[in-house]
């Protein structure tokens, strides 16, 4: 029984006065089978590390650069300006009755978040090889930190969107509330794709070179520069197979108070969820050899 212990001055409590050991091991280290459990409890226990790694990425990025936080704004803003000039004005791409700048920016905002998060998390594991080989923590935190860092940039770029909305005198309706679940959906998709690619990258370093190319292609098959309505109705379903289509259309509908394309959103949600679940299990399966081959 542990009651009050007489400790004479100058002596330290010894091991016998410590609480008894648990009957069940705290951790069992053994070879895992093919499919490994997700360890969500472990992830929750290390949630502070997610905050610190995100904070580190954001802080370091801003310390090293001249423009610092401005980069989060410049990327979507400048892209929007160039798109407006070349696609909106010169090429005359339609924009569903919305001024082209807003049309483009509303698409660029979630796109930039998605593409930067995926590229960042894709390279994150290989870039953190020093951590992976020396310390234990649930490895999923590494690509997740890249996604949350992207979320920070998203929040900053969002401020510009508010400015644009005011400039173009867009009235805000209840649909704006949908932005929250839409952002969540984009985050899930970014996490799903990023986690899977980051794990693959450890084994096949091609991924690092394939990523920029993949992202470029993906941008063109998403309705950022052009609206879905530009395609003949028969072929729109092809575009909707891309989960980003539903998300981007959803962003535009939410901001401008228009009708949502629930089918597209449904497809996006379904694919994103499935991808996230598959990616998580796949990551856990590949995790066991990270420290050995990174």
């Amino acid at each position: 029984m542990i009651g009050t212990v007489q400790v004479s001055p100058g002596s330290t409590p010894k091991a016998t006065e410590r609480p008894p050991l648990p009957a069940v091991p705290v951790v069992i280290v053994e070879p895992t089978r093919f499919w490994v459990a997700l360890d969500l409890r472990g992830l929750w226990a290390y949630r502070e590390l997610l905050y610190f790694l995100t904070w580190r990425d954001v802080k370091v990025r801003y310390k090293q650069t001249l423009l610092g936080a401005a980069w989060a704004i410049l990327q979507p803003l400048l892209t929007m300006l160039i798109f407006t000039l070349f696609f909106g004005q010169l090429a005359g791409v339609p924009s569903d009755g919305i001024p082209y700048p807003i049309f483009a920016y509303a698409g660029l905002l979630p796109w930039t978040f998605f593409s930067n998060s995926v590229t960042g998390s894709g390279n994150s594991l290989v870039g953190s090889s020093n951590l992976i080989t020396k310390v234990y923590f649930p490895r999923m935190i590494i690509p997740s930190a890249a996604v949350t860092a992207g979320l920070v940039d998203f929040a900053i770029a969002f401020v510009v969107l508010i400015g644009l909305m005011i400039y173009y005198k867009i009235t805000v309706t209840w649909t704006v509330l949908m932005l929250a679940p839409l952002t969540l959906l984009t985050t899930m998709l970014a996490l799903g794709v990023g986690m899977w690619l980051s794990a693959l990258n450890v084994k096949y370093r091609d991924i690092r070179y394939a990523l920029p190319f993949l992202m470029q292609l993906w941008m063109f098959v998403s309705p950022i520069i052009y609206p879905v309505s530009m395609l003949p109705a028969r072929w729109r379903w092809v575009l909707e197979l891309n989960p980003l289509t539903g998300i981007i259309s959803g962003f535009r509908a939410a901001l401008l108070g228009r009708a949502f394309d629930w089918t597209a959103l449904g497809i996006s949600t379904g694919i994103s969820l499935a991808l996230l679940v598959y990616s998580a299990f796949s990551f856990r399966r590949m995790e066991k050899s990270f420290a050995d081959i990174v």
Partner: protein, 433 residues
């Protein structure tokens, strides 16, 4: 009593082929599969010459509060064992049961980012090691004062000297308070004052009743900190018991006969196509192989080597190291004119070094034997070739004289010449009127 760590049949296998090309490209994998599909299937069955077992069938238990040293040569599997217990890598066979929280220190400054300040890195590193934010905040002042960098807290770590960097990194880890602490060779950094501080802190941690697993090549540190030691070689437990015994066994291991190291198979001996080592021997003055000498005793160390190709100038050398790994001295046969400027003929050569008595202090010495060419290229080197034990039998005629107390220490114990002078004091100096 229940152990806090229980290891059963633990094993870790690495594929050598896979290790050479740790990562591959898709193209390589595809080409490999197309070229030799059978090869890939065969390798998945793991043929022996393509894999190595870094650890094989480890079984041991550690009780709460024990401070255990894990020792062994490089490549014995010590770091692999620590990585498995720290959950960094997965075992291939067996299991380890841990009945307490583990904190691992496999490297100091893991995760330190050079652009962030000292203050920021304390939080980052603490979080990486598993401390909560509130925990780090409460211990922040102690960490900073242990590291002695109060003035430099807000400068980026890239501006720190290496000493400051290491002090800060160790300080954060020192205040990690897990139930099981696993430490890998981190005492090998920093100056001696800092090493003393680290050792002191680790002793304090051990004194609090925590379980500590300590890997080190520094036998002095291991003997100071640990009560028990486990000796690993080629991934297996060779010995597990009281630290003095196991350390002695470690220093002896690899010697076929005490005081002698032989290579019968030249193809496996250190060296190249020009020269190969054949034997390293320590002999007493009667010519018998021995490895225990008194401090006053002279002895002989012989390097026997086989020259396979003529036309090279070769020199033999011995490096004598003490128990802590400090280099005491180097001696080589180039100091004698005999073979300088001459090339060695093909055949078996013996370079015999006479080490005088009253030079070395008591302790266990490790001898590295090597052959090199001019301009300096090492051709055949065997670290830890033999171990020599110098003992103090309190014999007369040595530096000890008639002193009976324990010798204070020192890397060497030479017999020096002392002279004496005496001037009596006059009455006035004594203060007498």
């Amino acid at each position: 009593m229940q152990p806090i760590i229980r290891v059963k049949n633990l094993g870790k296998r690495y594929r050598i082929g896979a290790r050479e090309a740790a990562y591959s490209t898709l193209r390589e994998s595809l080409v490999e599969t197309l070229r030799a599909p059978l090869n890939r299937l065969r390798r998945n069955g793991a043929s022996d010459d393509e894999t190595i077992w870094a650890l094989k069938d480890l079984n041991f238990e550690i009780m709460e509060g024990e401070v255990v040293g894990i020792i062994g040569r490089n490549g014995a599997g010590k770091t692999t064992l620590l990585k498995i217990l720290s959950r960094i890598t997965e075992p291939t066979t067996g299991r380890a049961e841990l009945y307490g929280r583990v904190g691992s220190l496999l490297e100091v400054g893991t995760g330190f980012h050079p652009e962030l300040t000292g203050r920021e890195n304390v939080f980052l590193n603490g979080a990486i090691l598993g401390m909560k934010k509130t925990e780090i905040e409460s211990k922040f002042d102690e960490i900073v004062s242990f590291a002695e960098i109060e003035k430099f807290l807000d400068t980026p770590v890239k501006r720190y000297s290496s000493g400051m960097y290491v002090r800060l990194a160790f300080a954060v880890a020192a205040y990690l308070n897990p139930e099981i602490l696993i430490v890998d060779e981190v005492l090998a950094v920093g100056d001696s004052a800092f090493q003393k501080k680290c050792l002191g802190k680790m002793q304090a941690v051990a004194g609090e009743g925590r379980t500590v697993l300590f890997v080190s090549h520094n036998m002095a540190a291991v003997q100071r900190l640990c009560t028990r030691a486990i000796l690993l070689e080629d991934g297996k437990v060779i010995q597990d018991g009281p630290v003095q015994q196991v350390v002695l066994k470690y220093l002896d291991t690899g010697i076929e006969q005490r005081g002698e190291r032989l290579w019968n198979d030249l193809t496996r001996a250190p060296g190249d196509e020009v020269v190969r080592l054949r034997a390293v021997r320590a002999l007493n003055l009667s010519g018998q192989v021995a490895n225990k000498f008194n401090t006053t005793e002279a002895f002989v160390v012989v390097l026997e080597f086989c020259v396979l190709a003529a036309g090279h100038q070769l020199s033999a050398a011995f490096y004598f190291y003490d128990e802590s790994g400090n280099l005491i001295f180097v001696t080589g046969d180039f100091q004698s004119e005999a073979w300088n400027e001459r090339t060695r003929p093909v055949g078996i050569h013996r370079s015999i070094c006479h080490v005088p008595g009253n030079l070395l202090n008591e302790g266990n010495l490790s001898v590295l034997a090597g052959i090199s060419t001019q301009p300096y290229t090492a051709r055949a080197v065997e670290p830890d070739a033999i171990t020599i034990q110098i003992t103090d039998d309190y014999k007369p005629g040595g530096a000890r004289g008639n002193l009976t107390r324990e010798w204070p220490g020192g890397t060497v114990r030479p017999l020096m010449t002392w002279r004496f002078e005496f001037d009596p004091l006059s009455n006035s100096e004594l203060g007498n009127s």
